[in-house]
């Protein structure tokens, strides 16, 4: 791996934590990582020395935004749904708190060489990696349509920002508090037709990814899905994140979500077995 592309393990520092809706946007000074970022990659964080904490497992987070040249040095922004013990501690950290960051990790979204039509489908905080993707796609001359979903307005990520980049933005919420009441599954068929998408990029819960991959296939589009599943290490060391796929040779195989993914071609994942394994 060439030195400017590979991941780094660095001593980072919390620059800010901002609550937006139900999420916390955590900005971390993480030298080198911003520069290497490509959309669809993630970082893993640890907060404590191994000698002090009873909980050694790092946690994975999508990179939502990077600023390679901010006034505080290179920063990355994460969108955190604070619920678990780890995430509650993370969002409570005061500015300047140390945090170890490893990344960018994993395979990014594959981007088309031609200026094609792209539909980006994101649900909740997991939509985070789609925003930098949208920018890069637009830079390449692609037409970008976006479908954002969430249970309610508070959990909807970045609708305003999406409108700046995308040609069309559709919002669906389960409770109808903003956009159309409904789900990704409801909205997809029409959107795929309307956007004449060549590629679907999806990020969200497994059920949503599965639906997006299936719908894409039905419409003759490629799909790229950003899978989120338990990752004990995130760095490819432990084999704790098996994903059942069909490889290029047509043979079924278990690969690692963290290193062989987290972005997979939607038609390669054996979706029905994802939860079982």
């Amino acid at each position: 791996m060439s030195p400017d592309r590979g991941p780094l393990h660095v001593a980072g520092e919390v620059l800010s934590v901002k609550r937006i809706g139900a999420h916390h946007h955590v900005t971390v000074v993480a030298p080198g990582i911003a520069e290497r970022f490509r959309p669809g990659t993630f970082v893993v964080l640890t907060l404590d020395d191994a000698a002090d904490t009873a909980r050694l497992q790092p946690r994975s987070f999508w990179i939502h935004r990077v600023r390679p040249t901010g006034s505080h040095g290179a920063t990355i922004e994460l969108v955190v749904a604070a619920g678990s013990r780890f995430t509650r501690r993370l969002v409570a950290l005061p500015q300047g708190s140390p945090v170890r960051v490893t990344g960018p990790l994993g395979r990014p979204f594959a981007q088309p060489r031609e200026p094609v039509s792209c539909l980006l489908v994101g649900e909740g905080y997991a939509a985070a990696p789609l925003f930098p993707l949208a920018e890069r796609l637009r830079e390449r001359g692609c037409t970008v349509s976006v479908l954002l979903a969430a249970p309610d307005e508070a959990h909807l990520l970045g609708a305003l920002e999406a409108r700046r980049t995308a040609r069309s933005v559709t919002v669906v919420t389960a409770d109808g508090s903003v956009g159309v009441r409904g789900t990704v599954v409801d909205a997809l068929p029409e959107l795929l037709t309307r956007s004449a998408a060549d590629v679907v990029y999806a990020a969200g819960p497994v059920a949503t990814l599965h639906a997006a991959a299936a719908a894409a296939e039905q419409h003759g589009a490629w799909s790229q899905t950003a899978l989120e599943t338990a990752q004990p290490c995130g760095t490819g060391l432990c084999q704790g994140c098996p994903v059942p796929v069909v490889a290029e040779d047509g043979v079924g195989r278990l690969v690692r979500a963290c290193t062989d993914g987290p972005v997979f071609r939607g038609d390669r994942v054996r979706w029905l077995e994802v939860d079982a394994r």
Binding site: M1, G6, P7, L8, H9, T46, A50, A51, T53, A54, R55, L56, Q57, P58, R100, T102, A230, P232, C233, T235, G236, L237, C238, Q239, G240, P242, L254, T259, A276, R277
Partner: protein, 278 residues
């Protein structure tokens, strides 16, 4: 023992990556995690490819991890074709961990690895704590463990070391170690993950700093009671101080496992610190 197998590590620091905790090596290398390392032990390889067990496979435990990976691996063919060449080209000293269903299979794996250039050692994972019911040869009794060593030893070229990693069972370790030494093991690896349960009741290994003081005892007891048999230590190592403590009680080299999941540069940093000492 009659043969002199040479040192168990390369010329670098006596710090190795433990089996099952270093991916294929490439992932660690991308993070600088192999820099200055004395050797890399692969995850356990079996004759045929294995899918491993269901999820969750690795869960946090107080100051450690419980794992039940179930020996997912590409089989010896896949390993030789896809993983060994990179490790060899990286110039790192490679020990290949193996497990098998029978003595014949063990011997077979040993022969194939013995003639594969770049394999410095074979590490026998005699009793994986997470593989109950995986159809492996039962090497819990010391004499059975010794039979595995004997079977692999027979056809192994002189230049390839044979390390035996028995069950982490403090009670009969000295007895086991003696049997392994007599059967021709060049070193014993202590300790494997301890027998444990996953939260859902599946058998698992327990590893990490939690088990460090137990590893210290096992290494001490075997090094003092079976002085002819080199001990390669593992269990709870996080930093150079932990490495030194294990060397102090008689280990010739030390493996780092769980700590890499928390910090992939742990082994490289411990090695660098130790070199700074010299």
């Amino acid at each position: 023992m009659s043969r002199d197998p040479g040192p168990v590590t390369g010329s670098d620091a006596p710090v190795l990556v433990a089996s099952g905790c270093g991916g294929t090596g490439r992932e660690l290398d991308a993070l600088g995690g192999l820099d200055g390392i004395g050797g890399f032990v692969t995850r356990t390889i079996t004759l045929d490819a294995r899918d491993g067990g269901p999820r969750p496979r690795v869960v946090e435990s107080p100051s450690g991890f419980r794992y039940a990976v179930g020996l997912q691996n590409p089989g010896i063919d896949g390993f030789l074709a896809l993983e060994l060449p990179w490790l060899v080209s990286r110039g790192i000293r490679v020990a290949v961990s193996i497990s098998a269903a029978s003595l014949g299979e063990y011997a077979d794996l040993g022969r194939r690895l013995g003639r594969s250039p770049g394999v410095a050692a074979i590490e026998l994972n005699l009793v994986p704590p997470d593989a109950a019911g995986a159809g492996l040869f039962d090497a819990r009794e010391p004499f059975q463990a010794a039979r595995v060593v004997g079977a692999v030893r027979r056809d192994l070229p002189a230049g390839v070391q044979l390390w035996a990693k028995p069950s982490a069972d403090p009670g009969r370790l000295a007895e086991t170690a003696r049997a392994l030494a007599e059967a021709g093991a060049d070193a014993v690896v202590l300790v494997n993950g301890l027998p444990a349960l996953m939260p859902d009741g599946r058998p698992a290994g327990l590893a990490g700093p939690a088990i460090g003081p137990l590893a210290l005892r096992c290494v001490h007891d075997v090094a003092s009671q079976v002085p002819d048999l080199p001990v390669i230590a593992a269990g709870g190592v996080v930093d150079a101080d932990d490495v030194r403590a294990l060397l102090d009680v008689g280990a010739v080299a030390v493996q780092v496992g769980s700590a890499l999941l928390h910090d992939p540069t742990a082994a490289a940093r411990a090695a660098a610190t130790l070199r700074g000492d010299a």
